[in-house]
């Protein structure tokens, strides 16, 4: 073919396969090559192929083509040349295309609402329409004129140029620009064509509709401004220019922020819908299966109990509102509402996963057929070990000692680790008992008593077994005198031991509690909190506080329910076995004494739940009292700590009051005489206002504890003149 889109394709001087240049042209060419070689430093000699043509083309067989037509069928030589006539074919289909285009425009007019929402993803309240035009996005509604152009013109041209009509479409948007672009006219040519494009764009596409939109926007926002003004100023619009400008600025900022937010949402929404619900469920199931537990108390103990305790505290303190809401301190209402549904779904999923897991338990090591060993499957609960230490000997020992051994009948040692071991065993049993409590079977309903009764019986048995084991572990029944201090006392000497007592008491029978109390009273003076030097150091004080907070209150409750003879018996034991002067010096000792004395008084006066005790018992009591009094006589003032703070004194005053109630007149006289100094000191200190009113009131209150028991009052005390 000799015509390539209108270009002459004949190579310069090509005849017979060899490039023939006459002499002049050859010399000129050589000179130019040399000059270029000098400039660039390249060696062009190597590129001179010279007579390198191998004349292989002469051997091509180009005959015997007579039967080509028969072999290949009539080649497309029927039309003019072998080119496909784009223009003519388009011309034939043009009417149909026009109709389709009109239909499309009509459709797009109807679906204007939908399109505007789609457009708003890209165009943001019309602010960026300007930009969208610059990017070259043609608004569909503006393609009123045919995008296919005028076919009459192009067809004629196409036929003239012999087949390149499809190329020169007169596009209303891009106009001549397209035509100019596609001609590769070198560097210089492109610039004018770009400018041409821009001119076309601003001329045809942007100008009018854009202006219109801007005007509309300004008018709308003016209305908005007026409305806002009306609202803010209570119905009367203020037309000051500054206000209007402010409002305008505010509106602009708001719109800007809204636009940003929508743009971000659109960015995220671009990737919506990649996963189906089943995909999401699949992944959720995998994640949840790692977390799932069928007994939350067993696996998730701390969290469950902690939240339960906190909710109970909140309820007690009367926090208004639902406890469940108080848990999520980050939750806003949206999240809570959504969470309810998701929680339900999660629970269902969890149940499903639990049943699945129960059916097919996964193994921690996998054995593949033909492999030479097992493969350990690592999970969170079975992690890859950093060190691999082989323990052969100690393994068998340690595996057996998880369950606490029963107390050995032989000599009981009181080495610290032994005692601590006992305490840990007690804890084990307490925890087991509390767990059992939680699993208590419900009381039987009518008609189901048989089945439920069986479960209840079994539960009671197991509970009893554990409780007995715990009781044994406390070493309370060990006879006195074998070891000093008594094992139970050794337990109580540790803070861990003190802390466990209130929990133990919840699971003990009343007679066991009594035995415990008896043991404690019998060996009281060997308690470490009973030493008076203990007051000096901080840790000792902590232990005393701990004792007062953990052991005294539950036993106080017990004694408050006890009958008279028990109180008498306990006090008798107390006095007999312990040095009262020593014991009375300590806070716990005084606490117990006060406890016994006050309870006895209440019972004597018949105010307890029991009938007034018989004379015999009352006489016993009086005897005891006198013994106690005689022992403590002349030591009463020494009970007061030398440099004690306010709080320390209270228990002493309380004890004195308890003593005073049961005292005869003479005894009372003795009491007053001994304690007189202290009373006066307090009253004077309170009256001379050196201290704050609360402290003064406290001092007076303390003194009155004692004085009221005598039938006196602090106001009656006359300050002796100095």
């Amino acid at each position: 073919m000799s015509d390539f889109f209108g270009f002459n394709t004949v190579m310069p001087g090509r005849q017979g396969g060899r490039i023939a240049l006459n002499l002049e042209e050859q010399q000129e060419l050589d000179r130019q090559v040399q000059k270029y070689a000098l400039e660039t430093g390249e060696d062009f000699e190597i590129y001179d192929y010279g007579e390198t043509y191998d004349n292989l083309a002469d051997d091509l067989e180009e005959t015997r083509d007579d039967l080509n037509d028969e072999t290949f069928g009539g080649a497309g030589g029927a039309d003019e040349g072998t080119d496909f006539d784009f223009a003519k074919n388009t011309h034939q289909v043009a009417p149909a295309l026009k109709k389709e285009e009109e239909l499309y425009i009509k459709q797009s007019d109807h679906s204007g609402v939908r399109r505007s929402s789609f457009a708003s993803l890209w165009e943001n309240d019309g602010n960026n329409q300007q930009e969208s035009f610059m990017k070259g996005l043609p608004e569909p509604s503006h393609a009123a004129s045919s995008i296919w152009g005028s076919f009459g013109n192009t067809t004629a041209k196409g036929m003239d140029l012999g087949g390149n009509g499809g190329f020169a479409v007169h596009d209303p948007v891009f106009g001549q620009g397209t035509f100019a672009l596609s001609r590769p006219a070198g560097f210089g040519g492109n610039q004018p064509s770009l400018e041409e494009i821009e001119a076309q764009l601003s001329r045809t596409a942007g100008a009018q509709p854009h202006l219109q939109m801007q005007q509309e926007r300004k008018m709308m926002s003016l209305e908005e401004v007026e409305a806002a003004l009306m609202n803010i100023n209570g119905g009367r619009p203020i037309y000051s220019e500054a206000m209007i400008a402010e409002q305008q600025a505010k509106q602009d900022r708001l719109e800007q922020r809204r636009a940003e937010r929508q743009a971000k949402q659109a960015d995220i929404a671009k990737h919506n819908g990649l996963m189906t619900q089943s995909d999401k469920d699949f992944i959720n199931r995998i994640q949840i299966s790692q977390l799932v537990t069928d007994d939350p108390y067993a696996d998730d103990f701390y969290c469950q109990v902690y939240t339960a305790l906190r909710n109970r505290h909140l309820q007690q303190m009367g926090i208004p509102g639902n406890i469940m809401d108080a848990e999520g301190n980050q939750g806003d209402s949206r999240r809570r509402g959504g969470n309810g549904r998701t929680e339900q779904r999660m629970q269902q999923q969890v149940q499903r996963i639990v049943s699945d897991a129960k059916r097919n338990p996964k193994r921690t090591n996998v054995t593949v057929e033909g492999a030479l060993g097992k493969i350990a499957v690592n999970s969170v609960l079975n992690p890859r070990q950093l060190l691999q230490v082989s323990k052969r000997g100690s393994y068998t020992e340690s595996s057996g000692s998880n369950s606490p051994k029963p107390p050995s009948p032989g000599p009981v040692s009181t080495k610290s680790h032994t005692v601590l071991g006992w305490i840990e065993n007690v804890y084990t049993y307490v925890l087991a008992l509390e767990q059992k409590r939680r699993q208590q079977p419900p009381p039987p309903r009518m008609g189901e008593e048989e089945i439920a009764g069986e479960a209840i019986r079994r539960w009671n048995e197991e509970y009893g077994v554990l409780a007995r084991k715990m009781w044994n572990e406390l070493r309370i029944t060990v006879p006195i005198g074998i070891v000093h201090p008594h094992p139970f006392i050794s337990i109580l000497n540790y803070s861990k031991g003190k802390k466990v007592i209130p929990r133990v008491l919840r699971h003990l029978l009343p007679e066991q509690t009594l035995t415990l109390l008896t043991m404690l009273v019998a060996n009281f003076e060997s308690l470490n909190v009973c030493k008076s030097e203990v007051y000096a150091d901080v840790q000792g004080n902590q232990e005393i506080e701990l004792f007062m907070n953990t052991i005294v209150p539950p036993l106080l409750g017990f004694v408050s329910e006890a009958p008279f003879r028990i109180v008498v018996g306990l006090l008798a034991l107390f006095i007999e076995r312990n040095n009262m002067i020593w014991v009375a010096r300590s806070k716990p000792g005084l606490a117990f004494l006060t406890l016994f004395l006050s309870r006895a008084e209440i019972l004597k006066q018949g105010q307890g739940n029991y009938p007034i005790p018989e004379d015999r018992e009352v006489n016993q009591w009086n005897e005891l009292y006198h013994r106690l009094f005689n022992q403590l006589q002349t030591h009463f003032s020494a009970l007061f700590m030398p440099k004690a703070t306010m709080a320390e004194d209270v228990h002493v005053w309380r004890f004195l009051a308890a003593m005073a109630v049961g005292a005869t007149v003479d005894q009372q006289h003795v009491l007053v005489t001994e304690v007189r100094e202290q009373v006066l000191e307090n009253v004077i200190a309170a009256q001379t206002t050196r201290m704050s009113p609360e402290k003064a009131a406290q001092r007076i209150g303390n003194v009155n504890l004692f004085l009221h028991a005598l039938g006196l009052d602090a106001s009656q005390v006359s300050v002796p003149s100095m």
């Binding site: 537990t293 696996d299 701390y302 109990v305 084990t428 802390k499």
Partner: protein
């Protein structure tokens, strides 16, 4: 060969996870093994003790200027050295009990 000996379960992992779950919403300071210490509100924790923090503030700001603009972070559990927590949020007695329970009955990792 070594794996046979080392098939032991790790019950304390569950205890720590349970413990951290109660601290969600509290301000904590996480010190990493690379000495970076970050304070923030605990958003979430998972079974691997990976930690997500909100509103973070690096403890020693000058040494880590690249963290100035970071608001939230996800910390892989294996790089944590310490987690400093507010004392009132911990019930120590309950924690002791939970630890005792873990010792006696390891969380049923054998199930997995």
């Amino acid at each position: 060969m070594g794996t046979l000996d080392s098939i032991r379960s790790n019950p304390e992992a569950v205890l720590f996870y349970s413990f951290f779950k109660t601290l969600v919403g509290q301000p904590v300071t996480v010190e990493l093994k690379n000495d970076l210490a970050i304070t923030g509100v605990l958003v979430s924790v998972d079974q691997f003790l990976n930690i997500k923090l909100d509103n973070i503030k690096v403890v020693d700001e000058e040494r880590y200027p690249h963290m100035l603009a970071v608001k939230n972070c996800f910390i892989r559990g294996s790089v944590v050295r310490y987690v400093q927590l507010p004392a009132p949020s911990v019930d120590t007695a309950l924690l002791q009990d939970a630890a005792r329970r873990e010792r006696q009955q390891p969380a049923t990792g054998a199930r997995k």
